[in-house]
Symmetry: C2
Subunit: 321 residues, 2 copies
């Protein structure tokens, strides 16, 4: 029931995923889901609005689609959940219904960021769940990000970078300095099968320097939205230039075959959604503006992570501390 074009895009995405062989349950108001096309519907009478206050909505609206979806995962009726709705409410519902993985202080949102020319993205976490973080949490984010990166993209020994304002060890806020020291410790790296690669800067977000980027949720959210904003502004300016004269339009036509793969590469639809790591189930949080294709990809990713037992791996690694 969530997303800018709900439930149409979500239903279309679910049907696409089902056609690819992923078994999908839809959760929501049955009368709104008339185009479910044979997909099973788990009824939920309430809808948490996109702008609603997250925690109180989840507490009060026990028959909302978000809460019922998280319960379906908790009860084993579903193996994973995907939402394009209210991010905060999806987080809260996942946390309250699926619970936290033992040993995890705070779940974090991990967002894939395209790395041009590389088959897998950088994963940045936390990209918005926790506005204030401790250095210990950042180490847990590193562990969770590394497990996720390996399970999802097959990176055998993920390199973890710490987002700061200089490459040298001493650079950054007190939080970053303390996190740097803790991340240098070999123990967590061995357990998680990861390597700490030191500080990275804002300009390295899309670079092939590391595989996982660790930061607090405030900085991560600002960086992510900055990256999105700059890309949109640049692409918008290009589009206007491409259409600014007859000559330009002919040029753009000739360039189309060369630009198509680029468009695909930078298209957020290709990478699927963000994931909430640290809760007791797979919970993928897609952009409200996700296209059916983006949602189908997110559903497929959710399915694959459930198949691979990523949450089990996280449990094993985070509890063994």
């Amino acid at each position: 029931m969530g997303g800018d074009d709900a439930p149409r895009s979500v239903v279309a995405g679910a049907r696409m995923a089902a056609e690819r062989g992923v078994p999908v349950l839809l959760v929501g108001q049955p009368e709104q889901l008339s185009e479910a096309g044979g997909l099973e519907v788990v009824p939920a009478s309430q809808v948490i609005a996109m702008g609603a206050e997250a925690a109180s909505s989840v507490r009060k609206m026990k028959d909302s689609s978000l809460v019922r979806a998280a319960e379906a995962v908790r009860d084993g009726r579903a193996s994973a959940m995907v939402s394009a709705g209210n991010t905060g409410a999806a987080m809260a519902a996942s946390l309250l219904r699926m619970g936290r993985i033992r040993g995890v202080s705070r779940p974090a949102i991990a967002t894939p960021i395209v790395v041009p020319g590389r088959a897998w993205p950088n994963v940045m976490l936390d990209s918005g769940a926790n506005t204030e973080c401790s250095a210990e949490w950042l180490v847990q984010f590193a562990q969770m990000g590394a497990v996720y990166c390996r399970d999802r993209w097959g990176v055998s020994e993920p390199r973890v970078g710490l987002l700061s304002i200089g490459e040298e060890a001493g650079k950054g806020s007190p939080l970053v300095k303390e996190a740097f020291e803790r991340l240098e410790d070999a123990a967590w790296q061995t357990t998680a099968g990861a390597v700490f690669a030191g500080n990275v800067e804002g300009r390295d977000l899309l670079a092939d320097l590391v595989d996982v980027i660790v930061t607090d949720g405030f900085t991560g959210n600002v960086a992510l939205k900055t990256a999105e904003g700059v890309a949109q502004q640049l692409i918008g300016a290009l589009r206007r230039a491409f259409d600014s004269s007859e000559e330009a339009r002919r040029g753009a036509e000739l360039l189309a075959p060369a630009l198509a793969p680029l468009y695909d590469e930078f298209n957020p639809d290709s990478v699927g959604g963000a994931i909430l790591l640290g809760v007791g189930g797979v919970s993928i949080i897609s952009h409200g503006a996700s296209s059916p294709r983006a949602l189908a990809n997110a559903i497929q990713v959710a399915y694959e992570l459930a198949e691979r037992g990523t949450v089990g791996t996280l449990r094993r690694i985070l509890c063994s501390e």
Copy 2:
């Protein structure tokens, strides 16, 4: 003596500015400045390296070009300084030699960010001088940014936005929440001739929503470098696509006239350098990779700000608190 291609680019930029009628002094090792082309040279025997530790270098290297340049401003021999060298050392030299403006808790770096289609950029501060900030400092950044924006680009009543992770008043870190409350106060807005426009997000950095963006130096630096990185990656990918086939090259040629103004608009050379606001003189800190043209622009901006008495205005507004 500073910058990636020092002193060549700096000297070339200084000569360009001189040709435009700006009186320029060069500060540095005379034997390195043989191409000064008649510009007066203030001798300084030492050079603070680009990667050197800032504070201790400035303290020890009293005959360095950065320290001597800041002294020239302090002593009234120059009206402003411009450097493409070690940012931290340029800041420290400016602060130690020119002093802080009375009433200013911490000087901040204000960086212009292009707003496509608008004649003036957004000014973001602090973009790196203070990794940790208090809410009071953010209010001073707002005041200084507004004065600068008006003096430099003629924006009569600058709109000030607070960088956060949601538009609503309650969103953000404790620092942002406290700063929001303080920024709502009418008194500072009246004194500075500015308007507080509420929170802005990372995606609004290049948008025509506000004129000044206020943030702590850690977040600001990450956001700025993220924006630079994304722009570079996208432009690099475009360049490769434009050159990927005979057909693409022909298309790119047809598009060249439409893309040229865009290139100019997004070119950091056009906006000039960042400025250190809150010290007792004009101090412009340019990118180490600045071209001669970028440096000439920065020198001209420094000249104009000195002519307009921007530092005097800052003194008046910040002291009257």
